[in-house]
Amino acid sequence: MSTILEVNKVVKRYGDYVALNEVTLSVPKGSIYGLLGPNGAGKTSLIRIINQITLPDSGEIILDGEKLQPKHVQYIGYLPEERGLYNTMKVGEQCLYLAQMKGLSKAEAKKQLEYWFERLEIQGWWNKKIQELSKGMAQKIQFVVCVLHKPKLLIFDEPFSGFDPVNANIIKDEILKLREDGATIIFSTHRMESVEELCDHIALIHKSNKLIEGKINDVKRQFKTNSYEVGVLSDNVEGLMYDLTQKYKVNPANFKSLNDSLKLEIQLGNATPNELLHVLTQRGQVTHFVEKIPTVNDIFIRTVSDK
């Protein structure tokens, strides 16, 4: 898989404060790339550099094989976290203006706008002013402005904030469709469940440094602890617990089940799952046996609190 965006040892300072410290990333073409990190980690600084809003102090950015340059703005669509449009300008005029700034001709912009307005069922808004729309409605307009010029690379900063669940779903489906159509999506958010749901790659930035990057499954494999959640129905619970604690680290677990089985989380260390199964089947009936996969949320919290 080729990369669409490479960030090479990018450094950004604001006075004495280092916002990005030799950050290196590579975003594969066609991926949905989750850019994670706590508040103030440097995500926005990085996104602004990719958007050429600010320049890096050192390092370079390669977009689709070329060094980042002014003409690239038309290949990128950006939805900033802090949304904003001209309050007193009419929706249609405003969208046309912003699309033309991205290099579309007026006719082409109009065609695209009609397509998107129909798609999101907002045709009636053309002559309304932004101040007459609700926040969620304005967000939709902003989304349209962001994708109108068919960018190869889309950068969404908290795209779902401000949307009700129905509209959030509409936007999610649109994002997935854009990916199908060949766009690459960089996705910056604090909502780990949407990362889990959408992203195939993630990177974690913390205190100006990149700590983790890779395919989401690789990262998870890297963070897995070889733990299993098991449910056992046993007549001799004490004997079972004795056997288990001799060999493994055992903790009580909590998961949903329909019977009264004993619920445990067992860390295997170097042992294999089959050995554990052997122990369990000798002492009772196994009702539940699942490898515990770390969630992105776990990984995030562990990484951030480790440092």
Binding site: V73, I76, Y78, L85, M89, L98, M101
Partner: protein, 438 residues
């Protein structure tokens, strides 16, 4: 279409479509004329006739006053010398008359000078006191002359009355008020340019603050450079200002044209109907008016208008870069006050220099120097232009103005670039300086 012209177009259309722009453009000339007419009407309004009681013990002056009585006069003088002074003083309180002029009868005529009193509850108008003093003074002088046995007729004959008439070297006769016209025109244009700079500079600032607080600026500068956005904004707003000025200039010139037509053509036929004396008087009046209008046309109107446009563009560009930088540095308009003061100061200074120095001596050192300094030149030079300014001075002044603009815009752009992405606290001067180095 290039991106900058796209921004210019948007800024221009937003400004021009704004209701306040339309109202200001078409209503303010009307308002101006209406206000002038209103002030004129107020001035011509007759005040209530005021009754002044005169108690003249000498009997020397009272006739001078009562002779002035007429139906339309502002003051009506009553000769109440026969009535007891104390009674008169008391009746001021019940307001049967405005005041009491008390002239005692001194033993020595010299003592008149300081012994006359005007008694009233309200302080009298200065013009009334002056008039009374002059009436009494003239009469007293005359009396003194007669007492000294001097020939008053010979003295009157000896009095000379000089009236210098003005003419140009070309032989054309000019009107006396011409300098006042030049001062008025220069002052008006200088003042106009200050108003334009402040109004349109503020518009630029408001527009920057609006983009910043609505956060749209981040979207826009992901497509264009901050510098392009700033220049587009400044130029677009300037075009709106120029449009407004051209509309005013057209209205003003056509008014002037209409008035000259009125005096030039229409006066003669109406004059024929009038009686002979009236005709002469009216012709004289029309002649003066004609001459004034001719002088107005003789003023370098074209060069004043061209200079206005050039100096407005230069001055406005210079100041609006400050305004744009300030708008970028703050989050709302109230925070901008601290930074605006140093920007407005030179403008006010130039108006003062204009009204106090240029008017006295349009080509003196102070006037020339201030018409060169870029921050004051737009206003001061415009005030000088009706008096005729050598071309080389204008050339230097314009070059300096635009040169300064190009360096200031570079600094302003740096502050602007950083400022539009900074939210939260109001920056200090020190921080602004730091931004220049980012």
């Amino acid at each position: 279409m290039s991106i900058v012209s796209l921004i210019i177009k948007r800024e221009f259309i937003t400004k021009v479509r704004n209701k306040s722009f339309i109202v200001m453009t078409f209503l303010s000339p009307l308002l101006f004329v209406a206000l002038a007419a209103f002030v004129g009407y107020l001035g011509s309004m007759k005040a209530d006739t005021k009754r002044i009681a005169i108690h003249d013990e000498s009997g020397l002056f009272v006739k001078e006053f009562t002779a002035k009585n007429s139906k339309s006069a502002e003051y009506k003088y009553l000769d109440l010398s026969a009535i007891d002074l104390k009674f008169l003083k008391d009746s001021i309180a019940n307001e049967s008359f405005e005041g009491l002029l008390f002239i005692p009868k001194p033993t020595n005529p010299q003592d008149f000078e300081n012994n006359i009193q005007f008694i009233s509850n309200n302080s009298p108008s200065l013009s009334f006191i002056e008039r009374a003093q002059s009436l009494i003074g003239t009469k007293l002088t005359k009396t003194n002359l007669i007492n000294a046995k001097l020939d008053t007729i010979a003295i009157n004959k000896a009095k000379a009355n000089v009236n210098i008439s003005l003419a140009k070297a070309t032989g054309e006769e000019t009107v006396k008020g011409l300098n006042e016209i030049k001062i008025g025109i220069g002052g008006a244009f200088g003042y106009l340019i200050m108003m334009f700079i402040i109004i349109y500079g503020n518009m630029v600032m408001r527009s920057v603050i609006e983009e910043k607080t609505s956060r749209i600026v981040e979207i826009i500068i992901s497509s264009v450079k901050p510098f392009q956005l700033m220049i587009g904004k400044i130029v677009g707003t300037a075009l709106a200002g120029l449009l407004q000025f051209f509309i005013w200039a057209i209205i003003g010139l056509s008014l002037l044209f209409a008035i000259s037509m009125f005096f030039g053509v229409n006066v003669a036929p109406t004059a024929k109907i009038s009686p002979e004396i009236m005709q002469a008087a009216q012709q004289e009046m029309a002649g003066t008016a004609q001459m004034y209008i001719k002088e107005l046309w003789n003023l370098p109107i074209a060069s004043i208008l061209v200079a206005f446009v050039i100096y407005f563009i230069g001055g406005y560009f210079l100041y609006s870069s400050f305004y744009a930088a300030i708008g970028a540095a703050v989050d709302n308009q109230t925070d901008s006050q601290q930074f605006l003061l140093p920007v407005i100061m030179p403008l006010i200074l130039s108006v003062y220099v204009g009204f106090f120095t240029v008017i006295n001596d349009p080509h003196g050192t102070v006037a020339v120097v201030f018409s060169m300094i870029p921050l004051t030149s737009p206003i001061v030079m415009l005030m000088r232009i009706p008096f005729g300014v050598p071309l080389w001075q204008i050339a230097i002044s314009v070059t300096l103005l635009f040169g300064t603009f190009f360096s200031v815009v570079w600094f302003a752009a740096k502050i602007y670039r950083i400022g539009i992405l900074m939210y939260g606290k109001k920056p200090t001067w020190g921080e602004l300086y730091k931004w220049l180095k980012y």
